[in-house]
């Protein structure tokens, strides 16, 4: 069935709501609070689960434990002042957060980004995606009981990439690197050499990782056929990123919006066929390989030149009144920033479109009817970071 058919066929009312589950017998339901301090929740997050024996009858996510009103804070400071705070949204992927914010401001002001800066953004953004996808697979394996090993394989590579980030931006995780109209510091030839060296080792890591996990019997038994998400529901619920593509929907913002210079690189968009947890795992592994390809191409083609728009203003930066929505394909999904300027030095409204939060919309739908142990897996396959969910 084509996507268009799935989207436009007549559906019954309430088709996009989670089904109401009935307990089997007349035994009492057991209500369990998974979290906020549960090792599987990747932070402080709670799921109020109602169980009929082992079967999940109801699941309500509870948010807000890490809420600091990031959006309100941003209204009280300059545009540039929020840049370091974007690092703290999804703290695994600070560079893509920087990029999305810079892109939204550039849309608002119409600034141009020099070519070298675009290449640097692509290199750093894709390295971030590699870090995110490998760690997220590692965490998923951890949740299946593979204590340590896969996660340590992922963290070994992550450490090499974080060293690169540190030598370029000064910080391993809170990079604060992008600026409106370019990047903060230029990469030296020595850095580019070091990056090439790290990237040369990455395909070997991807092979090793896939060999370790891809055909592992336990992983297959636990993941296949679990947590199925239908494509039409995924689109309707605003699911983006690897989650959406694992449901077989070909939608990658790098290909759709052609932001930055992505149309210059040759890469493919992997799609899932079974829409389950295993597909989400595999999609991340395949995207990781595509990201390695992009970084290789970018490192080969990176031109010399300035890294900042010569007309960019650091001091007295006041965009003209108006608004802009800018988005990128973040490692977790569509990361967008919506800014409203009233002509002042601070944004009048600063909104983050958090992929982690919106991807949790269908958590209940995916978990209903499965076992408690599978809830941990399904939740892990969504790949969230609480810093972004709660903002």
């Amino acid at each position: 069935m084509t996507l268009s058919h799935l989207l436009h066929e007549k559906k019954p009312a309430g088709w996009n709501r989670p089904p109401v589950m009935e307990p089997d017998g007349d035994a009492e339901l057991l209500e369990v609070a998974m979290g906020p301090h549960h090792p599987s929740t990747h932070g402080v997050f709670r799921m109020d689960v109602a169980l009929d024996g082992e079967r999940v009858i109801r699941l309500k996510p509870v948010f807000g434990y890490l809420h600091r009103n990031h959006e309100k804070l941003a209204e009280g400071m300059t545009y540039l002042g929020s840049m370091p705070f974007t690092d703290r949204l999804d703290y695994i992927c600070s560079l893509t957060n920087n990029w999305a914010y810079a892109l939204a401001v550039e849309k608002l002001t119409g600034q141009e980004v020099p070519e070298r800066a675009e290449y640097l953004r692509v290199i750093l953004g894709e390295l971030t995606r590699i870090v995110n996808h490998s760690s997220s697979i590692g965490f998923l394996a951890q949740e299946m009981g593979a204590s340590g090993t896969p996660l340590m394989y992922a963290f070994r590579e992550r450490e090499k990439i974080l060293d690169l980030f540190e030598s370029l931006t000064g910080s391993r995780m809170m990079c604060n690197y992008m600026r409106f109209g370019g990047c903060r510091v230029d990469a030296s030839p020595a850095w580019l050499d070091a990056a090439s060296k790290v990237v040369t080792g990455l395909p070997g890591f991807a092979d090793e990782f896939e060999q370790l996990l891809g055909s592992n019997e336990i992983l297959m038994a636990r993941c296949q056929g679990v947590g199925i998400l239908r494509p039409e529901l995924a689109i309707n619920a605003g699911i983006t990123g690897p989650m959406l593509r694992a449901s077989g929907v070909n939608y990658d913002i790098r290909k759709v919006d052609h932001y930055g210079i992505y149309d210059r690189f040759n890469f493919r968009v992997p799609l899932g066929d079974h829409w389950d947890v295993y597909d989400r795992f595999m999609i991340r592994l395949l995207e990781l390989r595509e990201s390695i390809k992009i970084v290789e191409q970018a490192l080969k083609d990176i031109p010399a030149g300035p890294i900042m728009d010569s007309k960019a203003k650091i001091r007295g930066f006041r965009p003209k009144p108006g608004e802009a929505y800018g988005r990128i394909e973040g490692p977790k999904g569509e990361l967008g920033f919506y800014l409203i300027s009233d002509g002042g030095p601070n944004p009048y409204r600063y909104r983050v479109r958090p992929p982690s939060l919106i991807n949790l919309t269908i958590l209940e739908d995916m978990c209903l009817g499965s076992n408690v142990a599978d809830v941990v897996l399904i939740f892990g396959s969504v790949d969230i970071v609480l810093g972004e969910v709660d903002r």
Binding site: L3, S4, L7, H8, I235, K320, G336, Y338
Partner: protein, 238 residues
Amino acid sequence: MGLGNGLKTVEEIKAAIEAAVPGAGVVIVTNPSASRQHSLRLSPVHAIAIATFLRDDAELSLDFLSNVTGIDWPDKEISEKVKVPRTVTKTVDGVEQTVEEMVEETRKRVEPGFLEVVYHLFSVEKKHGPVVLRMSTGNRADLVHLPSLTPVWRSAEFQEREIFDLYGVVFDGHPDLRRLLMWDEFKDHPMRKDYVEPDDFEYEPTPHDEVLARAIAHKAATERTTATAAADLKVGGQ
């Protein structure tokens, strides 16, 4: 006013909506910034019908609601200079006369504030967008109801809950309208522009300047309440 990627212009979308939903009354809001993302203001009465049309129309096929944003526009006091005719008594050439004269006067007018909700739509099928919709409430106090678009696009579920929580917009027809980020007992709406932080957070151990002043005020207030509470206890005990 093209939106790029082969999408219709806002004018064409407006015409399409008005052809499909009679009396929709869509207004184009132009965006002066470089992004050129113009938006369409909907009247809340027709919002569900328009949203369903935009999602199901074969040509537009806006199947993906990406982002829902709440905005607070507080009451704005506008002072403007107006010329008003006034009769004044004047002595002209030794004779007292009543003359009509134009006098400049500063008048203050309050433009009532409102809450606004903005929806950013894209199409996964046709790969175009964004189409921006906006809806506003009557005021910021009692007329804060808007229709929920969650039945049309599920992705609005958490985002509308967040706006209900942080701005106080009540979405009619939302299947599960509860606070999302703040706790259930919380009373105010922190994202509103006139929100005042409650005086209940812990001050730093070595306060100085502004924080010192607040710490002293805070301490005085809490000591008074403890003293009153102790006195009450005593009275109650006897």
